[in-house]
Amino acid sequence: MSTQIEQETETEESADESVTEPPVESPGDRRRQQKRERASRLDEQRRVEEEVSEDEETVSLKIFRYDPEVEGKEEPRFDDFTVPFHKGMTVLDALIYARDHYDSSLTFRHSCRQAVCGSDALFINGRQRLACKTQIGDLDSGTVRIEPLPHQAVVKDLVVDMEHFYDQMEAVEPYFDADDLPDDELEEQYQSRENREKVKMSTRCIWCGACTSSCNIAAGDNEYLGPAAINKAYRFAMDEREGEQRKQDRLRIVEQEHGVWRCQTQFSCTEVCPKDIPLTEHIQELKREAIKNNLKFW
């Protein structure tokens, strides 16, 4: 596809060049002129940066690269970038700098820059972290090694296919569905403070996928719901506003073979969750809840 496009561009370029000798300035000339200027400016910039880097602090990045369509990137490789460092710099800042200054094809998801959108969970120095929430100063090693989330298919560079994660999240019927609602449209449902407190942490999930990516079971058993989805189920199963009947349905979802029972309490999900959700605790509680519930029926 676009590997061809690349070649086409080249031929077009050269043809273009040979016809338009410049008596009058054409847009193409202008463009090429500017391109030349830009190239020299870029060189200049590089030089300046190199000089700067002598006395300024820098940080080096080692970034996973892959693109199924682009020659030279079909086989995954690591690229090195050196970017200037400043206090408070996050890994995301460094990635953006590298992209905007060195290689605009460097691809990663990001949006909010403040740990709420969940798009930039990456594998940074051997651990799942949000790039925007990771201070470079807090990483102990000299180079920052950045890879896409493990256990997910890589689409390109640092972008992984999240489809399966979303499917798992949606498999637990992740929506509030009360047995009954107040008759009056303007009357709220009541919920005790304790109950809100109980579900509070579980409602913080930003769907970043870090937890599921860190779990060896989720890696091995593709059907395993995974910590994030189970936590979603917990969020609703424990919400007293929904009612007993719905809770039974919810427990039935998590106690399927590839539900809670697959969890081997590895705790890595809990460790990597950027929102500090006690995932293992929630999973364990659901296991007990399911057992208790069944004992009642025996």
Partner: protein, 121 residues
């Protein structure tokens, strides 16, 4: 997509039994080890001694339960581990039956041996 609750089979039973057998096993395994390595040195075990112990009904029952629970616990553990690695479909069914048959044979053989160790038969 993870399968929805298509069947109403509750998969928590095995999980619970795994824990319950574990609790039982803690005691028995420790006892077993103490008795046959520390109290009676392993190298000094003879059939006579064994028979003497096994002929006590309480000890016999404990050992037999040890066998059954350990078999369940161990085999179920292996089965779980395989599911955790993503075993599914016919392979899973096959493994399941192999494990079931192996367990039954083990318990049967174990029972035979145990009976042979008593002076009842």
């Amino acid at each position: 997509m993870a399968e929805h609750y298509s069947s109403f089979e509750r998969k928590g039973t095995r999980w619970l039994f795994q824990r319950l057998t574990a609790v039982f096993l803690i005691g028995v395994l420790a006892f077993h080890f103490m008795l046959l390595h520390f109290v009676n040195h392993a190298a000094e075990i003879t059939l006579a001694g064994t028979t003497a112990r096994m002929s006590q009904f309480g000890y016999f029952a404990t050992m037999w339960l040890f066998l059954v629970t350990a078999t369940f616990h161990g085999v179920n553990g292996v089965y779980n581990a395989l599911i955790n690695q993503g075993l599914k479909g016919t392979q899973k069914q096959a493994v399941k039956w192999v494990l079931v048959v192996a367990s039954v044979l083990l318990v049967a053989q174990g029972t035979r041996v145990a009976l042979a160790m008593t002076n009842l038969v």
